[in-house]
Subunit: 461 residues, 2 copies
Amino acid sequence: MPGLPQTVTDALAALLGRRFSQAPSDLDIHGRNETHFAPAPPDAVAYPRTTEEVAAILRICAPAGVPVTAWGAGTSLEGHALAIRGGVCVDFSQMDKVLEIFPQDMLVRIQPGLTREALNTELRTTGLMFPVDPGANASLGGMAATRASGTTAVRYGTMRDNVLGLEVVLADGRVIRTGTMARKSSAGYDLTGLFVGAEGTLGLITELTLRLHGQPEAISAAVCAFPAMGPAVEAVIATIQSGIPMARIEFVDTATVAAFNAEARAAMPQRPHLLVEFHGSEAGVAEQAARFGEIARDFGAGAFQWAARPEDRSRLWKMRHEAYWSILRLRPGATAWVTDVCVPISRLAEAVEETAAEIAASPIPGPILGHVGDGNFHAVLLVAPEDGAEVAAAKRLAANMAERALRLGGTVTGEHGIGMGKLDYMEREHGAGWDVMGQIKRALDPANLLNPGKMVRPDGA
Amino acid sequence: MPGLPQTVTDALAALLGRRFSQAPSDLDIHGRNETHFAPAPPDAVAYPRTTEEVAAILRICAPAGVPVTAWGAGTSLEGHALAIRGGVCVDFSQMDKVLEIFPQDMLVRIQPGLTREALNTELRTTGLMFPVDPGANASLGGMAATRASGTTAVRYGTMRDNVLGLEVVLADGRVIRTGTMARKSSAGYDLTGLFVGAEGTLGLITELTLRLHGQPEAISAAVCAFPAMGPAVEAVIATIQSGIPMARIEFVDTATVAAFNAEARAAMPQRPHLLVEFHGSEAGVAEQAARFGEIARDFGAGAFQWAARPEDRSRLWKMRHEAYWSILRLRPGATAWVTDVCVPISRLAEAVEETAAEIAASPIPGPILGHVGDGNFHAVLLVAPEDGAEVAAAKRLAANMAERALRLGGTVTGEHGIGMGKLDYMEREHGAGWDVMGQIKRALDPANLLNPGKMVRPDGA
């Protein structure tokens, strides 16, 4: 990588002053990732504060052929923001404002660097909430770019469903707005949907209009143990098919429970569990809980432990959200390979049980947990990074999970995205549709400047 | 229009036999539309039965530069399927099969010519339903292509939300599949979302995977009169903001009520009404109805007339679905200009009342009705087609409605699409985003063969 042309460095420094950095520590921080991918630092980091600055960065970089990669909160598990071809990392942490709340329309206009927790803190007194919850305190721009979802998607949908409009800076510096503030529209191609999930390869998101939801009148959460993995998953399938509007329905296996018990000083029985939450009116929540309880009992669930008080619920979901870290600490020194497949709900038990059996027969531990109401689950493969046999085993397990998901009619990534880890599966999953993605990429970013090397065929840009 | 080259005619006749037609009656039928646009017959009509035949049609037409326009059930209100540059009309009426029902996954795989009523008839014994309901018995391929919605979108979403995957034949005859059978995915650009709403300008839909929903355990419907338009619309706004999961909430003005009374021998008070429906458990429906009743009373609603029996509900929604025809018969000999705007819910009262006042001050009648839970409403402008002053007035009213919607943060079409009628607003609504749509069109259909003259800038293809 030859580094940046001096003209580009000078122009960016003139534009941004101290908000343009080539300090080694900055490059280092923006070259790292949460999981096992090799570091890939950019040549410089820019901290814009306005859409106009983002557009100016593109107008400086594009003529010089300098790659531009967006950075949100750095919580991606697939190395999305790694600057594998160098260039400028655009860090959105200084574009983190709530621009306007529209309580009557249940919408909010925000900047991309705002995190989901910060947004919900700002919304606390409005009676509204933004429900999409990938666990990490990700930036909302990053969540849109990766089509994130998480524990509440079973009820409230993913980012695809909750982004109503965007402002996007294109590769050539043009600024467009997608969507309106109306709840639906038939006017033209769905550009909002095209940029959501494009992982920064088609444009940089500089503003989002998000749908909000009413804070539920009543919330109730519980955990319950099952005799084995199969019945727990079968209970999920039956629950979803029954139409109970679950707000959350999460599976954790016995190994994950052990991590919880060690980390959070919980005292959960060492068995597979479901963690559930109900949202609605008081009567509605009671009815949902009763119906779910009947189904769970049919599949051998033990007694429910209810988390009725807000602080008990917070503790429960904090434990779930920190599962990744708790699991990592089960094996000090290990690196995590976090898999992420999603299958049709009818094939979920089969997919989970085959995966568990294969991990059990492998040399590495791999607790399983997931947003099973969507058919989405993860194995966190704990690999000794210097042990070639373990790395090979992890690769094989991850590959088999992806291939199993495709064979069962599912997808190689339910919510973590393509990033560095899943590019090799794009052709398998999409066939000629992957070529169409490449055609769109070439149309909008002909010089392959935006997050190059990701999402589409490397020679296709 | 020079007609088709002989080589194309010969090749299509050899491919399709008697399912290739140039009979004047066939051309005439496929050159008409439901509203006021001038007829535009194709040069030929093809009736494929398989995806392979559709691909072969494209492989024959593309090298000869022959336009190809898809035809579903012909129920579009914006002349989407008019063959304004001639060429071949691909009529999907012989691709109308349910291919496979997946009851456990609540999905169905169908061909595009299947109508929504035929699908729901096939689903009747499964406990499942496909809820998207634009009124007309449209083909599901056409509904996807136009991103249709209708009375139930407030609860179940539009076609954007209910199409999980597609098979599409591209302009060059390539066949791609988009989406999987998993409920969510983060794998790549959202091609499903791109083709839904593209109005046949990017590809021809040859198969759809649709989300199904459980038939509600309990259903309850009612009509109630309001003292005036303003309070009725304000009641809708309050209802949506309260989070009551309305299955339907429809507004009809006094003129529409008069049409109902004349047509369906209803005896509704000559005042604005809301038509509502609740879906859920027995207890849930009762709770929703009680909460809605309180809100309606706060805004001066009269007594509810409940439609408890299935046949009463059928009569109610049949009357609503046939409103367009009932309204047309209010003024024999008139042509209907059906407008379709959608605004943020907070601006709905303002939008409806300004529109009503402007129509009242014009020389033409224009009953107003709509899917107000989405902020979406229509005025059906009844125009004497030979009267230049009336036509000019209708054009002005329609233009003002569109501009008002944009000014209020909304869209020029909530559900009817662009077709022939809204092309002039694309730049106003999307700005530079419209250029991006043109770039995508050129990338996927460089010769502008698919439904040419629609959706994107005419010189942009």
